[in-house]
């Protein structure tokens, strides 16, 4: 085909020349130069986007523009044009189109951008500004141009992709004027790209970007979707309406756009669900409420729950997160979920998922109870051996006391939770609603009329409707509620047994009320679960008896203190042992029984006897492993300190009582063991307690004695007065302890070092360190030893003449 074209072209040019010479003989050269000037393929000699020279202008005038100059009438018809002139014009048009097509297809593959085609079109249209080839029939050129655009769009994929990209960039950069050009091009081309489709797609992307910018990390606004939508419409809608060619008040379209904003909001919030529900809570409450309004589809909910759980699993349910933090996060998420979905349906999925993870944490129940009770730190350290961040625990306790979800709120425990949250959501209007029964009634009616059944494929309903308050959800974490309650009882038991006097503080009494209420409700709610009900009623009964015992003890104590013979420093508690999970007879239990000091034993015996008189038919047994003794230790140097200790510890320290003369008493382990009638191991444990308190110490003769005056003793031994003047008792003891530890550890590592050097000759300290790290058993704790520590150990061995240092600073065995 391509070979035919030049032939056709030649014929065409010949025809043009023939007619030209007929019309204006002797102007063949001029005509030829006109054709060359027009020809887009003659890049070197054509117009080159420059106006024609004067001679060429004349030629144009003569051959092409003459008819229009003379007889172009206002109505656009040609009159007085003779046939040849007309034919010449037609041929010139054909020639030009021919050349343009040739040029276009020649460059076809190089047209990749919108700019390319714009430049090319300018190039093709430039001569037409001077030569009025299509003046008579402008449509012809437009059709030709649009056909070329159409072809380009359909066949040049690269261009199509680039164009789409270009439009996207323009829209995203808010360059709507240029975007308008592209849209016009697309509309005129009527090709494979439909401007409306692209525009709508781009608008969605634009909305998505706009939403990301205006919604992400913004949780405190109440009507964020509406606000964002409004600012979008204000800023962009006029442009988009123009580009789409629709009226600005097309409410159908704007409603769809609003829905897009809602969808984007949901998408963004699902992505951020962990931050919204946990990190930013409670500041994120407004956004959760807005989510509640917008989230309707179960699919969205499912996605939200899944996203939440995966984030929760990754960030919270891993061993590096402390139980307090995990619990805090969980409490926040419960609140958030209940805000979002007051029925608790989706929360149930979360509860089921996290349950297993939380159950692995054994200290969970204690921490939860401590948080519920808001216990003071010293109480925690009494009962738990875990490092707990008190600040975080305090926050957790405060979180549990959130007035909106208060664990103590009664109406939720007894009534329907949803009712409670509804009133929370309508906080501002609740006053009105309460005063106007008509409104309340309307609300109920409206709810009834608009009720729709839950889709059957939604997430399954919770097994029970127990999500009535925060505490219920929290207790759901455990294997059973009885477990939680029995743990609470354990704690209560501990608390009451170590309680000074007979009054529980406010936190405890509040919590007790709560538990009682809970047990009562549970009992009435589960008539079918006999075993559970039995266990719960037993728990509730135990609790009641324990409290009654404490109360009765107080009354009895008051009566007893009125008896002159009894020591008023004793505050006895009389417990019904079966309800305190205790055995009565421990006489043969060597872990509990011990011999009290005569004085104390005598005083307590008096109480026993009085009790027998006051309560006929009953007897008492002292629980030696329970109770608290408050004692004061005063040293010769006037230093006094108070301690709250167990009976056993008190008895042990009383053995060292120097009396009024403040004499120093030294006892061996055996003596203490005999006097207290306990095993040596147990005696050592008790003495260790007092050593830990820096009250006792063990001297070099293995005798235990009080630390008072110890400073002078050490000074005398070491004969270095300048050193000891600043020594405190503690530092002195710890220094001694350190020395002992160092010796012990060096003895442990010596066999390894010896073996190593025996096999390998001499080694540098780095090498020994590296080898010890690898070879020593883990339980020796070598991980904690640094390079410098090892060096000091090695120098100790050198001092002991076990090792020698060589000139290259390596160590070797002596002999």
């Amino acid at each position: 085909m391509s070979q035919h074209y030049p032939e056709d072209l030649k014929l065409l040019v010949a025809d043009i020349c023939a007619i030209g010479s007929q019309l204006h003989p002797g102007t063949e050269d001029d005509l030829e130069s006109l054709l060359t000037w027009l020809n887009p393929n003659e890049t070197n000699s054509n117009h080159q986007l420059r106006p024609p020279a004067l001679r060429l202008k004349n030629t144009i005038k003569v051959f092409a523009n003459q008819p229009f100059n003379s007889s172009f009438s206002n109505d656009g018809n040609f009159e007085g044009i003779n046939g040849l002139e007309k034919e010449l014009l037609i041929l010139l048009r054909q020639y030009y189109i021919f050349q343009v097509r040739l040029n276009f297809f020649f460059r076809f593959d190089n047209i990749t951008t919108f700019k390319d085609i714009q430049r090319l079109e300018t190039y093709y249209e430039f001569p037409l500004k001077h030569v009025f080839l299509f003046q008579r029939n402008a449509e012809e050129w437009i059709v030709e141009r649009n056909d070329l655009r159409h072809y380009l769009l359909n066949k040049n994929n690269k261009f199509k992709v680039q164009l789409r990209q270009r439009l996207r960039t323009l829209i995203m950069d808010d360059d709507f004027d240029l975007a308008c050009d592209v849209i016009l091009f697309l509309n005129e081309a009527q090709g494979a790209l439909y401007s409306r489709d692209i525009l709508l797609d781009l608008m969605l992307i634009k909305i998505s970007h706009f939403c990301e910018k205006h919604m992400e990390n913004i949780y405190g606004h109440h009507f964020l979707v509406m606000e964002t939508f409004n600012s979008f419409i204000l800023k962009y809608w006029s442009y988009f309406a123009r580009l789409l060619g629709c009226p600005e008040d097309d409410h159908g379209l704007t409603t769809i756009i609003y829905n897009c904003f809602e969808k984007q909001f949901i998408k963004i919030r699902i992505k951020e669900v962990f931050d919204v529900f946990i990190n930013e809570y409670p500041e994120s409450k407004p956004t959760i409420l807005e989510m509640k309004k917008v989230l309707h589809h179960t699919d969205d909910f499912k996605q939200l729950v899944m996203q939440f759980l995966s984030a929760f699993e990754a960030k919270i349910l891993n061993p590096s997160v402390t139980t307090v933090d995990a619990l805090l996060a969980y409490v926040k998420s419960i609140k958030s979920f209940l805000l979002l979905d007051p029925t608790g349906k989706y929360l149930n999925s979360v509860v089921l998922f996290v349950k297993a993870y939380f159950q692995e944490r054994h200290e969970l129940v204690v921490i939860l109870l401590y948080a519920i009770l808001d216990l003071q730190s010293e109480e925690i350290f009494q009962h738990i051996n875990l490092p707990i961040d008190m600040k975080r625990l305090k926050i957790l306790a405060e979180e549990l006391r959130d007035p909106d979800f208060n664990i103590e709120s009664k109406h939720r425990a007894g009534g329907h939770f949803e009712k409670g949250t509804e009133s929370f959501f309508n906080e501002s209007s609740s006053g009105k609603a309460g005063s106007d029964t008509q409104l309340l009634y309307q609300g109920v009616l409206e709810k009834f009329l608009t009720w729709t059944p839950e889709p059957t494929d939604s997430i399954p309903r919770p097994f029970n409707q127990s999500h009535r308050n925060l505490l219920d959800v929290l207790t759901n974490m455990f294997e059973s509620k009885e477990f939680f309650v029995s743990e609470f009882l354990k704690l209560l038991r501990k608390k009451l047994l170590t309680l000074k006097y007979y009054k529980l503080n406010r936190n405890w009494s509040k919590c007790l009320k709560l538990m009682k209420e809970k047990l009562k409700n549970e009992g009435s709610r589960m008539p079918n679960h006999e075993s559970n009900a039995n266990e719960e009623s037993a728990n509730s009964n135990n609790m009641a008896v324990m409290l009654r015992d404490t109360k009765n003890s107080e009354d009895l104590c008051k009566r007893m203190h009125q008896i002159t013979d009894l020591d008023p420093r004793i505050f006895p508690k009389f417990i019904s042992f079966l309800y305190w999970d205790r055995k009565l007879d421990y006489k043969n239990d060597t872990t509990i029984d011990f011999k009290l000091t005569e004085v104390l034993s005598h005083e307590l015996e008096k109480y026993r006897n009085v009790y027998k008189e006051l309560q006929p038919g009953r007897t008492l047994q002292l629980c030696k492993d329970q109770g608290v003794v408050e004692l004061e230790l005063s040293t010769r140097d006037g230093y006094t300190q108070k301690y709250d200790v167990t009976l056993e510890q008190a008895t042990a320290i009383q053995l060292f009582d120097g009396g009024e003369s403040n004499e120093r008493i030294f006892l061996s382990l055996g003596e203490v063991s005999i006097q207290m009638e306990i095993g040596e191991e147990r005696a050592q444990r008790v003495l260790q307690f007092w050593i830990g308190k820096s009250v006792l110490y063990k001297n070099h003769q293995d005798l235990y004695g009080s630390c008072e005056g110890r400073e002078q003793e050490v000074r005398a031994q070491h004969q270095s007065p300048h050193k000891t003047s600043s020594y405190s008792q503690d530092s002195l003891l710890s220094h001694e302890q350190d020395e002992q530890d160092t010796k012990e550890f060096s003895n442990k590592i010596w066999p390894f070092i010896e073996g190593m050097l025996r096999n390998l000759g001499s080694l540098k300290v780095e090498k020994i360190h590296a080898l010890l790290k690898v070879t020593l058993p883990k339980d020796l704790g070598y991980d904690m030893i640094t390079h410098n520590d090892l060096e000091s150990y090695l120098s100790m061995f050198v001092d002991d003449e076990k090792l020698a240092v060589l000139s290259n600073k390596s160590y070797k065995l002596i002999n």
Partner: protein, 165 residues
């Protein structure tokens, strides 16, 4: 060093003194172990409550019979209040009477006396209606025997460990 005790918050466990009665009754050691801690009627521990009570101790005390069998007061009263009990101890089938002189029994004597009276009156009425003179005589015997419960015996030291008057 001087150690001064400021306060002692001690804990005592109370329990009913019951073990001695059964032992005195000549029951074998094994039986004592098995039976001593539980009420023969409700099978709950003496130191716990009968099924109807919540708080042990003052609100659900024990009583000791002449036969040295102990029961929660509510259990034995309810038992004696039934016609089928015929006023007998459910353990040894002897006529049940509260042991005299025991302080733990004192506060219940009046109640048990009324119950006894009511039962014998009922029996007498029945016998009268049937015209059974022999039965009437038996009831009269029972009544005089029953009154024995409240005979003023004065202060008698009965057992070690129980407060007696």
């Amino acid at each position: 060093m001087k150690v001064t005790i400021k306060e002692v918050h001690s804990v005592f466990a109370w329990s009913w003194l019951i073990s001695n009665h059964a032992k005195e009754n000549g029951e074998s050691k094994n039986d004592v172990d098995d039976e001593e801690d539980v009420c023969g009627i409700c099978r709950a521990s003496f130191n716990a409550t009968c099924p109807g009570c919540t708080y042990p101790g003052d609100e659900c005390p024990l009583v000791v019979g002449d036969c040295n069998h102990s029961f929660h007061v509510h259990c034995i009263y309810r038992w004696l209040d039934t016609t089928s009990s015929k006023g007998l101890c459910p353990m040894c089938r002897q006529p049940f009477q509260l042991k005299r002189g025991l302080a733990i029994n004192d506060s219940h004597i009046k109640k048990f006396q009324d119950l006894h009276l009511r039962r014998t009156q009922g029996q007498a009425q029945e016998a009268l209606a049937e015209g059974d003179e022999e039965a009437l005589g038996r009831v009269a015997d029972q009544q005089s025997h029953g009154n024995g419960i409240i005979d003023e015996q004065g202060d008698v030291i009965m057992e070690q460990g129980l407060v007696v008057r």
